[in-house]
Amino acid sequence: MNCHPITRRESIKKLFKITGGLALTGVMTCPFQKTISAWAGSTNKKFIIEGIGQNPEYSVKALVEKVFEAAGGIGKFVSKQDVVVIKPNISWARHPDLAATTNPEVLKAVVELCQEAGAKKVRIADHTIHDARRCFAITGAGMVAKNTGADLVYPRPSLMRNMKLQGHRLDVWPVFLPLVEADKIINLPVAKVHSLSGLTLGMKNWIGAVGGRRSALHQDIHLTIVDLAQFFNPTVTLIDATRIMVANGPSGGSRSDVAVSNRLILSDDPVAADAKAAGLFNLRPQDIGFMQLGEKWGLGTTEFQKLRQTKVII
């Protein structure tokens, strides 16, 4: 410890040098970040957080906030003046308690968090399966948009752009523009079983982000899921497992298909998030094709010990 007292001028100079140096290194490593995290094993460990609402009267909004807090706060992901787009699953014109779509309370909480973090614009975008206006009404997404002032984007052909996905099976495919033209993307799927892929979680949610002949994707569903997942690079994935569909997925249709599980899974590793959610259905990630492929192609890992794991219980 230096006994010589430091003057104000010197301390300010030192601060500028440090922040300047940090900013410079930050800028220089930007282009390499993707490579680093994908190949070399990141210097920054990825995290996975499981939030559980044990108290029967727990508030969904509080659980969302706590989960993000455990990840370091929303400010870590959303910066001031960011354009944030949220990709929920509002593709089915079903009531929220049928668990075919993302819980509107979770959606609302995430939108409000982003707004608190100072986002310039928060958009909600999903290329719905059923008629979009009915979906917006019946899933509650429209009301969320009205109450929070978020932008609910109507999916239309003029907003689809052909893009090179550079996947193993998919080359050029029409993509829903708002999900690419944003500063930050938050993937907000609902956890359901699926008759073909086994489960539909975060990675499969991106099928709702593209247009074109989506029905043809089923002919190689696991590979196409991974192709889409590697194209979209979400800031975080928050899997809504407050109510999960355990039978007759993905469309369901009866309350008997739903299990109330009161959980949320937040991660910046898309494969790990899905793998964690698989446990809720008593399935192993090793048995699910797209999770194995995702790990193989370097999108993430199913080995949770490599990540910073946290549990939040309220």
Binding site: R134, F136, H218
Partner: protein
């Protein structure tokens, strides 16, 4: 003035016959499973106002349609004031008025001779009697030529989609451009245009013909002013019948007349305004042109009491007899193809809540309201599927759209009740079936060994699902055995909604298709032993 008001009201209600713009702002629809999405505006209003629709629905289907009081009011009004509906309210009349008199095609003398009372004006009575007689015998063809139904169908199925497609294509072009400003113009334009013209490209079978017919009818105004109103309109004929005792009438003073024929030149109804001839109350549309034009004030509209009996409507024996004969033969001609007495065509899929076919044909006015309101554009005008008797009645085409599981909008807008109003709950729980799906194994991807699929099962909305997947093996075209999940339809659960056919990747002729058999409304058209 009032013409403009009613015309704008008509167009406004037409545009509002769609999913409400801000339905998604009402969370209660999401929370409360009982509440259905409903239209805020009284889109049926003009149909309730139309006396011809009321009377034929009554004669034919024995149905007092909701809101018939308005039509009754119009008849009472006509009784006292003559055909002011034609002159002041009818939106099609307004259109014809504009088409005839904006830069009139006929100059002076030709216009005068065109406005002379003509024998062809009896034709509308022929049509009226035809429709009334046919309705009495169980076939309601009125909507084909009723002015309100005609205008609605033409605008909703041809004019608006036509304009909408044109604008959309332009907007899509600018959206694809690399210039950002053009993109934003396109997005903004689409937000403004879509609520009026529809989201997506609307398409309807034979819409081209509906459009051409509409343009042709409008064009006829250049040959003879208000041609439709004078010669074709069955509603005009009906109102003319009631105009005899009108207390509002045209009083002529022949001494003042100088035979300038200015009144005749501007007469829209060809109702003989010239002094010296007897004024024809049943042809007069009360446009007041003659009164305004006469420089000598030789003709004047007066309210007189007691009502003076004007001359009888000039129907002509031929028109009446012809109408009766044709009216009797049409219902039987319509039954000749056997669709009513045998099982109906497999391709005829009626909207959910439709009455059994015989009652349906008695009430359906072929107005196109259900086609306009359907959010997926599935409902189309039938061409041959329902036979001659069902021409232009609603028919669902599943490769174009599908019936949304909880949607009941069509029943909510049908003005005569040919499609019953259902609640969402009733539709799901009964369940109301509109058909059954069947799989063509030769085309289905997994069954034909061309790859895995399951899209149909994935989208099937019923619970329990009506399509099951069973793991099995299939022979690929190369001769290899492949392990695939094979779809099987469970007819007991299938409601015929058609989303499987709509989403099936085998484009153009889907491997899973919906046929009418199994529809709830028909006792005979069933497949299974128990319902």
């Amino acid at each position: 003035m009032s013409q403009a008001f009613f015309f704008i009201l008509f167009v406004f209600l037409l545009v509002e016959s769609r999913l409400p713009q801000d339905i998604y702002l009402d969370y209660s629809v999401a929370l409360n499973a009982e509440q259905d999405i409903e239209l805020d505006y009284p889109v049926k209003y003009f149909f309730q106002l139309d006396p011809l629709i009321w009377i034929t629905s009554l004669i034919s289907g024995h149905q007092w349609i909701t809101g018939f009081g308005w039509a009754l009011g119009i008849i009472i009004l006509t009784f006292f004031f003559g055909r002011i509906f034609c002159g002041f309210i009818c939106p099609l009349g307004t259109l014809h008025h504009m088409a005839s008199y904006i830069r009139p095609a006929l100059k002076k003398q030709r216009m005068i001779s065109a406005n002379q009372k003509h024998a062809s004006q009896r034709f509308k009575y022929f049509l009226l009697i035809l429709f009334l007689m046919a309705a009495l015998l169980g076939l309601n063809l009125t909507g084909l030529l009723d002015p309100i139904a005609f205008l609605f169908r033409s605008l909703a199925l041809a004019v608006f989609p036509g304009i909408g497609t044109g604008i959309k294509e332009l907007l899509d072009l600018t959206a694809q451009s690399d210039i950002k400003i053009l993109n934003y113009i396109s997005y903004g334009g689409e937000v403004l245009v879509s609520p009026v013209f529809g989201y997506g490209y609307k398409a309807f079978t034979s819409a081209w013909f509906i459009g051409i017919l509409f343009l042709f009818i409008l064009f006829l105004n250049r040959i003879r002013p208000r041609f439709w109103c004078r010669t074709l309109c069955p509603l005009g004929a009906l109102l003319g019948l009631f105009s005899r005792f009108s207390i509002l009438r045209l009083e002529k003073e022949p001494e003042k007349c100088t035979n300038c024929n200015l009144c005749l030149q501007s007469c829209q109804g060809a109702a003989s305004p010239v002094p010296g001839q007897e004024w024809d109350a049943s042809e007069c549309m009360f446009c007041f042109n003659c009164f305004n034009r006469c420089p000598e004030n030789a003709i004047v509209f007066k309210l007189g009491w007691p009502p003076d009996v004007s001359k009888k409507p000039d129907m002509g024996r031929r028109a009446v007899l012809g109408g009766l004969l044709a009216g009797v033969s049409f219902p039987f001609l319509g039954r000749l193809d056997g669709r009513l007495h045998h099982v109906s065509d497999a391709r005829l899929i009626r909207p959910p809540g439709s009455l059994p076919e015989e009652d349906f044909l008695k009430l359906c006015q072929r107005c196109g309201l259900c086609m306009k309101v359907c959010p997926t554009n599935a409902i189309n005008p039938a061409l041959t599927e329902a036979g001659m008797a069902g021409f232009w009645t609603p028919n669902l085409i599943m490769i174009q759209g599908y019936c949304e599981y909880t949607c009941t909008l069509c029943g909510g807008v049908c003005p005569t009740g040919a499609i019953r109003k259902l609640s969402g709950r009733e539709k799901i729980e009964t369940p109301i079936r509109i058909g059954s799906a069947y799989i063509d194994r030769g085309q289905c991807l997994p069954w034909s060994g061309n790859g895995p699929c399951i899209v149909c099962e994935e989208h099937c909305p019923t619970s329990p699902k009506a399509i099951h997947l069973i793991q099995g093996t299939s022979l690929s075209p190369a001769g290899k055995k492949v392990n695939v999940k094979l779809p099987y339809v469970d007819l007991k659960s299938c409601v015929g909604c058609g989303i499987c056919e709509y989403k099936c990747p085998v484009k153009g002729k889907p491997a899973i298709r919906v046929i009418a058999a199994g529809e709830s409304r028909s006792v005979a058209n069933q497949i299974l032993l128990e319902l």
